[in-house]
Symmetry: C2
Subunit: 303 residues, 2 copies
């Protein structure tokens, strides 16, 4: 099937995590999150409209999401079983296939900038801990405690007291995908992981093909139960349906989120080379936002 319509010149979608998001959330809490998502979408839209490259836009959008304490990445990341933070991030340029990822990061304020640094300057794809941090000597450093918010400390205490992963299915990640005016696609993802995760656990976010993927047909950023995304290589599973079967993005993501991933495991945001956006999830909610050159601009939490 040949699509004769003109591509949408630019498009962006972001997420602030999928999972169990109570519909009983106080309206004020929902409003704050929606406003923050809207700010990030608006900034990304302005950048894309001004001709900024998709790779730069998704990096910047994720850096902004990392700063928002309500979302689980950067400041406001969840705590490990030891009460510390171990952050991970990845970024991929769909036009070149270049990718960079970092994990077990403890003192770099913006893990996504570190992932970009790996993409730009390292012959490696995935670097952990001190070696990753050494790639960003000029990037801003903070203490590990700087990432902690009172809410995350409280959730961690609750996890410790009950030995149950009460929020283990809570919002898990932030991410962004974009198509720029040149048709280039890019994806970026960043996370603190899961409350109570053991130090050394590496999830889907920095696993190229699982939580983060971009090629010349689609860009995907996942959020949810990381191990489920890893075991079905979710991002690459979307891309493979488009490349190998010629499926539309909408069909590809529905198969992966509906059939490959277990119910309740999460969602993703994705954009294709025509600027079409998809934001499916198979759980209660997903903080998300989207905009494109046609004037579309929206943010949402539930269906």
């Amino acid at each position: 099937m040949v699509d004769m319509t003109e591509p949408i010149q630019w498009a962006v979608a972001i997420h602030g995590g999928a999972g169990v998001i109570a519909r009983t959330m106080p309206p004020e809490a929902a409003r704050v999150r929606m406003e923050r998502l809207q700010e990030v979408v608006s900034n990304a839209s302005a950048a894309l409209a001004a001709g900024t490259a998709a790779l730069d836009v998704v990096e910047q959008a994720v850096a902004e999401l990392e700063e928002i304490p309500e979302f689980n990445a950067g400041r406001g990341a969840v705590l490990t079983s030891e009460g510390t933070h171990e952050l991970e991030a990845a970024i991929m340029d769909g036009s070149s296939g270049d990718c960079g990822a970092v994990c077990l990061v403890r003192e770099i304020r913006h893990p996504i900038h570190l992932a970009r640094r790996v993409l730009e300057t390292s012959p490696h794809v995935l670097l952990a801990g001190a070696t990753a941090e050494a790639m960003g000597e000029d990037l801003e450093r903070v203490s590990n405690e700087w990432f902690t918010t009172p809410l995350r400390r409280e959730q961690w205490q609750q996890w410790k007291d009950t030995a149950s992963a009460a929020d283990a299915r809570g919002p898990a990640t932030v991410g962004a995908v974009a198509r720029d005016h040149s048709g280039r696609l890019a994806a970026a993802t960043s996370t603190g992981g899961r409350t109570g995760k053991p130090p050394g656990r590496i999830g889907d976010t920095p696993t190229i093909g699982a939580g983060t993927w971009a090629d010349d047909r689609c860009a995907v950023s996942g959020t949810g139960h990381g191990e489920a995304f890893m075991a079905c290589v979710a991002g690459h599973a979307v891309a493979a349906r488009m490349k190998l079967q010629g499926k539309a993005l909408s069909e590809a993501v529905q198969e992966v989120v509906g059939d490959c991933l277990p119910p309740g495991s999460g969602g993703l945001v994705a954009v294709d080379d025509q600027g079409r956006i998809e934001m499916p999830f198979n759980c209660e909610g997903m903080y998300r936002g989207a905009a494109d050159a046609t004037g579309r601009s929206e943010v949402a939490i539930w269906r």
Copy 2:
């Protein structure tokens, strides 16, 4: 296309790494490597013929390959830039989709047993360093230096002196894939990485979908330039061609090794649900061996 032939009851393929393998290698050195491969193939064949599960067979085969100092995994692993060893391994059960992987391992004699332990007992897929090692408290521990052989020390010294990755394309990994009498498939891979790699570099071996993959149609273990396998999600790319396009294993692996992976980047061993084996590589050589229930039994290095 419906294949009406009976499946081959069991089949196994192993590798001891692909890369630049000089054809001028002394005949005695080649003979030793061929003999060691043959031993591993013979043991795996006997186990499969006796009804052992594919998952157990690939774990055991990789454990034996880890013991062979000529191959880059376990004892005889290459050294990092710091002159230390950081080992990684993964194992995946195609019938259940369960997988386990470890990286940045320093003192567990058999990383593949640790990966199996993660598969069996952890809710996580990929664990690094001390947390991974703590999963195998009853597994044999050795000092990090125990893994070093004189040859690897010499290669490291050469790397240090010339600041060039002289053997950066040398044999890289060990692995095994098998189909058992019940039609179950499994894959296992283990490596020391690349000489002079920075500590904290994580490669394709423990990345599910890249260097290690198994589902109900195929099992794949890759070897070569890890970053190339990660950027094209090589193992899952083979599986996707079979699942989504109905391609035969032979066609799927030729596309991935011939078209997706850059020339010279490595190879893989793979088996499908009919017991058919493929062992393609796009570089000078690949230490490999294969056997099946029809009486096939072979080992080889070059084409």
